[in-house]
């Protein structure tokens, strides 16, 4: 395999794993606080459409990305209101958020279907980007890639070493004890959910600002759900999210490159690959009996302080 082809494949794998990393790292933080938000797909779609619109009018990728973040946070706030404010079942509230986001993003973006804009520029780091073989691959990405890696590093540090991270984990594992110790359970969970929404929104914005140069309804195509699976696959450990996302990115790219590689399978079978891989990954992970998994003990359970 020529190095040009290899580099092209590697670059596309990285590109398709970035939205998964972004959405999954946000959901990971929310889940570590005990909030299972199944609305990732809906938040991503809203981030995608609002990001596109913001960038289209401002001409700035950065402003577009910020619009995406804001849209994701607004959706997350809605979820927080339902689950933390009204103690609604988290699974049902998350599903509602996804259905709502699918419809609303279609409504908001109706007039923007078919419009195009230039993708986010790829950064050129002097010296590093010119390294042979790996230079273009590792140091020639767009800004989102660096933000994604930075977020993972930040979250890993935050959860492990910071006081607030310790509180967040306590709330996710035993909200009653955390409450008894005087921690604001609802407040901490709301912040975690909002962070998850911001990341999902940014992930959606990446799809319309860098991955494809346009908006089309439902363009996230289940990536929000794969991000949710990725959190489980990563056993709630931040750096494993990156590993998992590259694996899933690879499955997506295999589907695109199959023709070039001479694999003759129906296109639908290749399109189903990422979903099948997700299921297989979950099976393999559970076969290992969850050794060392950091599953939050109170994940998905509502908490109402009765005293």
């Amino acid at each position: 395999m020529s190095s040009v082809f290899f580099q092209a494949v590697a670059a596309t794998i990285i590109a398709s794993s970035i939205p998964l990393i972004l959405a999954a790292i946000g959901e990971l933080v929310a889940e570590r606080s005990g909030m299972l938000n199944l609305g990732v797909e809906g938040m991503m779609l809203m981030g995608a459409v609002c990001g596109f619109i913001g960038a289209y009018f401002s001409g700035s990728t950065l402003i577009g990305a910020l619009c995406g973040v804001a849209a994701g946070m607004a959706m997350a706030a809605l979820y927080g209101l339902l689950t933390i404010g009204f103690a609604v079942n988290q699974v049902a509230a998350g599903l509602a958020l996804t259905i709502f986001g699918q419809g609303l993003s279609g409504l908001v973006g109706a007039h923007f279907v078919g419009l195009k804009r230039d993708g986010a520029p790829h950064l050129h780091l002097p010296w590093l980007s010119d390294l042979p073989y790996i230079g273009h691959m590792l140091f020639g990405e767009d800004g989102f890639a660096y933000v994604a890696v930075g977020l993972v590093a930040g979250v890993a540090w935050f959860l492990r070493y910071s006081r607030a991270g310790l509180d967040l984990r306590a709330v996710g594992d035993n909200p009653a004890s955390a409450h008894a110790l005087g921690m604001p359970v609802g407040g901490i969970r709301l912040k975690a959910v909002l962070f998850g929404g911001a990341c999902a929104g940014l992930s959606g914005a990446y799809l319309t600002l860098a991955y494809t140069p346009f908006w089309s309804p439902g363009l996230s195509a289940g990536r929000g759900w794969i991000a949710l699976a990725l959190v489980v696959f990563a056993s709630w450990k931040p750096w494993r999210v990156v590993l998992g996302a590259l694996l899933f990115g690879g499955a997506t790219i295999l589907q695109l490159q199959a023709q070039a590689l001479g694999i003759r399978l129906p296109s639908q079978m290749l399109s189903a690959l990422p979903y099948v891989v997700t299921i297989l990954a979950l099976i393999l992970l559970n076969l290992r009996r969850n050794r060392g998994s950091l599953t939050p003990a109170a994940l998905g359970l509502p908490f109402v302080a009765d005293t």
């Binding site: 199944l38 809906g42 809605l78 339902l82 009204f86 103690a87 609604v88 079942n89 699974v91 049902a92 509230a93 599903l95 509602a96 958020l97 996804t98 259905i99 709502f100 986001g101 699918q102 419809g103 609303l104 993003s105 279609g106 409504l107 109706a110 407040g187 309804p217 289940g222 759900w225 949710l228 699976a229 489980v232 129906p266 639908q268 079978m269 399109s271 189903a272 979903y275 099948v276 997700t278 299921i279 979950l282 099976i283 559970n286 076969l287 969850n290 109402v304 009765d306």
Partner: protein
């Protein structure tokens, strides 16, 4: 953070308020209508005109009424099974996939027997059974993975939706495509022997609707009067109590997934043999997901689901009418359905908790 001297507090009710159990969904729909009106205003249209087109006109037109009943049928059938699952805290959210698999397998029999003229009486019953069994087996994949390995049933059942849709897409574009179909991605039209007859001669309502009504009655009796129903009702609240009733949680999980998948599969095959009469790349406008809303709007009870199914079907029919008459996009219907579910869930809190306003301790 908050500086207000007052704060809202949720206090658990010992017993859910009976009046609110009935009132909450009505309040929720009313609230959802307010949000719907705001969305329509934001689109620059008149909410009053939209409500007229969405809700009033379909109810006044006998043809639309028949359409509402036909659309409500799959929603109710799927939601019946989902409600049993959700009561037991089991999250089958892949009913859309089980619906598609049921329609695909049942429809496959219609395709295979196309053109048969003798001994055709067995085709339709076999289609219904195969669709139901297919949906049940498909739902058992996440259930088996959950009880043996502890894999999340939420994620697996959802991933399988995409797989089922792509599988149908492949079949109707490939091996099952009608050779005389001018290259359209559809199978041959079903023969009469593979088509559900209308409820009465010449009627617009197919006989699958009768199956749905029958199922509502059966499921209501099962839930209220049988040991299995008791196990389902208690499983979510007190899993150990369900065990005492003779239903160990793993067995209950398998049974409920098979039940909900079977009903979704049956709904799928009823849809293709009663409404579409052929297979095409997409056989559902999202019934499997809308049925989740129906299940909650109907308060997870069979009779409530019947009413909720009709309400949701009305939004589909009204949405189509509004698209034609007022150029309102179909996404408005999806967004509105999401709002309805959120309002239903939020209103539910009033039945389980008492909202009190307390003075903040200084």
């Amino acid at each position: 953070m908050s500086v207000s001297p007052w704060r809202f507090k949720l206090v658990t009710r010992a017993n859910p308020s009976r009046a609110l159990v009935l009132l909450a969904p009505v309040l929720a729909v009313a609230l959802a209508l307010v949000f719907g009106a705001l969305m329509i205003l934001a689109l620059g249209k008149s909410p009053l005109q939209a409500f007229d087109v969405y809700f009033a006109q379909p109810l006044a037109d006998p043809f639309s009424l028949a359409e509402i009943v036909v659309k409500a049928s799959p929603l109710v059938m799927i939601a019946l099974g989902l409600a049993f699952c959700y009561r037991a805290n089991l999250w089958n959210i892949g009913a859309e996939g089980q619906f598609v698999i049921g329609g695909t397998l049942g429809g496959g029999i219609a395709v295979a027997t196309h053109g048969m003229t003798h001994m055709t009486f067995w085709i339709l019953p076999t289609m219904l059974v195969v669709g139901m069994v297919g949906g049940a087996l498909y739902a058992l994949i996440p259930a088996v993975l959950k009880v043996t390995l502890g894999v999340s049933e939420i994620l697996v059942s959802l991933m399988l939706v995409y797989v089922a849709q792509l599988n149908l897409d492949y079949l109707v574009r490939g091996p099952w495509r009608d050779p005389k179909g001018f290259n359209f991605p559809v199978t041959a039209g079903f023969d009469t022997a593979a088509t559900l007859p209308p409820l009465w001669p010449g009627g617009a309502v197919h006989s699958g609707v009768a199956i749905t009504v029958l199922l509502v009655i059966i499921m209501a009796v099962v839930l209220a009067r049988t040991r299995f129903g008791f196990a389902v009702r208690t499983a979510g609240l007190a899993p150990r109590a369900a065990g005492f009733a003779g239903f160990e949680h793993r067995r209950l999980t398998l049974a409920l997934f098979a039940l909900s998948g079977g009903l979704a599969g049956l709904a799928g095959v009823v849809e293709v043999s009663g409404v579409i009469n052929q297979l095409q790349p997409s056989i559902s406008p999202g019934y499997g997901f809308a049925a989740i809303i129906v299940a909650f709007l109907g308060r997870l009870s069979p009779v409530g689901i019947l009413v909720a199914g009709l309400v949701l079907a009305l939004t589909y029919i009204g949405g189509e009418a509004a698209q034609i008459a007022m150029k309102l996009p179909l996404d408005l219907t999806t967004a509105f359905q999401g709002v309805v579910l959120m309002c239903v869930l939020a209103a539910d809190v009033l039945t389980h908790y008492r909202l009190t306003i307390a003075r903040r301790a200084s």
